[in-house]
Structures are given as C-alpha cells and as structure tokens.
C-alpha cells in the first residue's frame, strides 16, 4: 500500500523536529536536486545557485515548525527558494546596475539581425528580460517541467494566473524571436 505523500512529509518533518539528523539529511536529499536546478535556471550562475539553495535549506530548517502540511513539503520548500532567489537577484541587479551601462543590459528590443547561430543567445537574453512575474512561471513550466498546480502553490497564485502568465511569457518570447528572425508576427 503506497503511503500518502502528505503523511510521509509530516512524518519526515516530525522526525526532523525531534532532532533526527538522518531525517534532516533525508529531507535535504529528497529536494536539493530540484531546488538547485530551479535556482540555477533563475540565477544563471553556479555560485549564486548554491548560495540560494543553501539559504533555502537553512531557512527551511529554521522554520520547519511552521510547515502545516497544507501544501506538499516540496511546494513549501520551493516557495522559500523562489522568494530567496527573487530577492537575491534584485540585489545582484542593483549591484550590476551600478557598473553596467544601459546599452549592455539585455532587453526585448533586440534589433533584427538575421537568423544566425546566435539566435539562442538572443532568445536567452529575451528570457532574461522577462518580468519578475513571468520569468519564474516560464522557467518552471517550459524549462523545468513543473505543473501549473505546483507553480501556483509555489508562487501563491491561482492556477489560472499561472497559465495566463505562461501565455504572456511565451507571447513576449515569440515576439522577440520574430523580431530577431525578421518575421512580422504580432
């Protein structure tokens, strides 16, 4: 008989709260891969991804008593992780903003330059330039394969909003791609 994942989560949390170090490690092992991957997709830097992942688990262990089991443990951890990543990236952008010129910053207004090998680089720049609301949804769904339910739970938004944001993100990327390819898609 397969166990209810929520019950398994609660039992694991209960063991962690009782000071069971093996349970803490089990919790970490069960989730670190997915958290790190998402952090890396969002940060684009291995050091930042490691920092965000580390901070996620430190904060999670600190606040484990607050885990109520309304959502899955994975969703709860991802909520912490995305919050840490967004805050961390804002700080990084502030620091970079002081040193980079505006011309160097990526944006959607990439001039069409023909369908060349750097299409991917341009597309990545367009993903970089997505807003803070659209980018996590796009990365989670289209790049990392999260479901809309998982995204909605993580970001604290309705499923419909998650779908709408994904639609908007894809539309913006299509627009950037079309502009790059010189195709007049509206």
């Amino acid at each position: 008989m397969s166990e209810n994942p929520r019950v398994v989560d609660r039992q694991l949390v209960h063991r962690c709260l009782s000071g069971d170090s093996l349970a803490e490690r089990a919790l970490y092992d069960a989730h670190v891969e997915r958290v790190y991957r998402l952090m890396h997709r969002m940060a684009g830097d291995a050091d930042l991804a490691a920092d965000f992942t580390q901070e996620t688990f430190i904060r999670a262990f600190e606040r484990l008593e607050q885990f109520r089991g309304d959502a899955s443990l994975a969703t709860w951890l991802h909520t912490i992780a995305v919050s840490i990543a967004l805050n961390g990236l804002r700080k990084v952008q502030r620091i970079r903003g002081r040193t980079d010129s505006i011309d160097d910053s990526p944006g959607l207004s990439v001039p069409p330059a023909g369908f060349t090998a750097d299409l991917k680089a341009r597309l990545h720049s367009a993903v970089d330039a997505l807003s803070e609301k659209l980018r996590p949804v796009f990365l989670m769904h289209d790049v990392e394969g999260y479901t809309h339910d998982e995204i909605a739970g993580t970001l604290g938004i309705p499923v419909g909003t998650s779908k709408a944001r994904l639609f908007d993100a894809r539309a913006k990327l299509r627009l950037a791609l079309a502009a790059f390819a010189g195709d007049p898609i509206a």
Partner: protein
C-alpha cells in the same frame, strides 16, 4: 513563421537556458550544516525558582482536567473488562462492587497507573508546588504522544477497529486537555516575560503529537480535524515564540489573536468532557 514553428524554436532555444551542471550536493549540505551550527541560538529565559502561585494554580486546574478526562474514558474502557471479570470471579467482583456502584478505582489504577486521582496531584502540589505539576503534565503529554505513535503504527482491522477508535478518542482527549494546560500556562507566564524551558519543551512535544494526530485516524472527524489544525497553528506559534526567546509583545499579540480568532479555548472547553464531570468521578 507560424506559432507551432515558433514554439518549437522556443523549446529548443530555452532547453539549455542557464542549464545547471551537477548539483554540488555535499558542498551545499556542509555549508548548511556549518551555518546552522554557527547560528546564534536565542536564549530561552531560564526557569525561575519562584513563580507566582496563580500560574501554577491554573496549571493544576488543567492537570485536573487531564486526569478527569483520563478517568472518564478509562472507565468506559474498563467496563467490558469488568464484565469479563464478573463472569470469571463473581464472588470477588461482587465484593468489590458492593463498595461502589462504579468500577473499582483500585482496578483502574492498577491498569492505568498514570490515572491517579486529582487529589493526589493537589497533595503533590503542596510539597513541590510548581515543577512537580509541570513535570506531571509533561509526563502525561509524553505518554499521550507515545500512545499516539503506537496507535499510528499499529495495524487494526474488523472488530479491533472499534476499540482502536475508542483508544484514539482517549488519546485525543488527553492531548486536547494537555494542550489547553500548556496554552494556559504559556499565556500566564508569557505576559510576565517568564516563559521557561519546561514550557518550551512541553510545546514542542505537544506540536509533534498534534501533527501526528492530524495525520492519523483521529482526524477523520471534521470537527476534530479543524480543532487539531487550529491547535497546530497556535502551538507552532508558541513553540516559535519560546524558541526565539525574544519575548516580543507583537508576537504575543499574534498568538492571542490566533487563539481568540479561532476560539481555540472555547472549542477545547466544548470538547473536553472532563469539565462536566463532578469531583471524585
């Protein structure tokens, strides 16, 4: 270029966007452990030798509630056993029952050593007024938690399921009474900035048991489930408050608001049958 072609390009083009390499699993774990080890532990206010008597009076009342609830349910559990005993040893049992219309308290005590009469607690409180009471309450909490764990791991079926449900109900009532006692003691002492280690540990034990019960058959009843969820929130807030040890009035207000908004104490009063039992039962 049509949308499908665009989507293909998007998928191909973003597949390796910020692609992560191997997860530095051990490195991150080591950093997490190091950070947690070096994190400043907020001190919990040390237990004072002398606390105001009224705090412990309220705790003693709560202890009484636990014991009354235990005795009430214990008697219900005892009834079939007494009937079996009557069938086996009619003479002995008649002699026992001639002294009392209820099942013998000695028999009850022998089967359930923790269910001592409340007067014994009161007598104990006279000699060791505060620590002794909290110690007893925490022992009760621990045994309730242990019993909940045993029930959670036990496999029951058919006829056993009925007695299992009754056992769960017994554990639930003990747990609710223990939770009320802790919340009462916490509110009293926190207002004076005197939350001690005993209450901190007590709240952690209760939180564990609450969560265990939430995942158990005990929460099949919607009323009980809601009450357990409310208790979970309140006890988690208390646990966090005493663990941080900051004694922040704002945090205390939040806890009070949670208790009031969810009518936690009123619900506990409504469910706990011990409150309706006359003294000596």
């Amino acid at each position: 270029m049509n949308d499908d072609r665009m989507d293909e390009l998007l998928a191909d083009g973003t597949r390796d966007y910020n692609e992560p390499g191997a997860v530095p699993r051990e490195e991150i774990w080591a950093r997490v452990q190091a950070a947690r080890a070096s994190a400043p532990r907020t001190p919990i206010v040390a237990a004072e030798k002398h606390r105001p008597a009224w705090i412990w009076a309220s705790a003693a009342v709560a202890a009484g509630i636990i014991l009354y609830a235990g005795i009430a349910i214990g008697r219900r559990l005892e009834q079939p056993t007494a009937a079996q005993h009557l069938a086996k040893n009619p003479a002995t049992t008649r002699r026992d029952s001639s002294n009392s219309s209820a099942p013998s308290r000695d028999t009850l005590g022998a089967k359930s050593p923790s269910l001592v009469p409340p007067t014994a607690v009161a007598a104990g409180a006279k000699t060791t007024p505060d620590d002794e009471i909290v110690r007893k309450l925490r022992e009760q909490t621990r045994s309730t938690g242990q019993r909940a764990k045993e029930l959670a791991t036990a496999t029951v079926a058919g006829r056993d399921a009925q007695s299992n449900n009754l056992a769960y109900r017994f554990v639930m009532l003990q747990h609710l009474a223990g939770s009320e006692a802790m919340i009462t003691a916490f509110r009293s002492s926190a207002r004076r900035g005197e939350v001690d280690r005993e209450i901190a540990a007590w709240s952690r034990e209760l939180l564990s048991t609450t969560r265990m019960l939430e995942s158990s058959a005990a929460s099949q009843d919607p009323t009980m489930r809601r009450l357990l969820e409310d208790l979970d929130l309140v006890i988690a807030q208390i646990t966090q408050y005493v663990t941080r040890g900051t004694n922040s009035p704002d945090d205390l207000d939040l806890i009070d608001q949670s208790i009031s908004k969810r009518s936690v104490i009123a619900k506990l009063h409504g469910i706990n049958p011990g409150r309706n039992l006359p003294a000596g039962t």
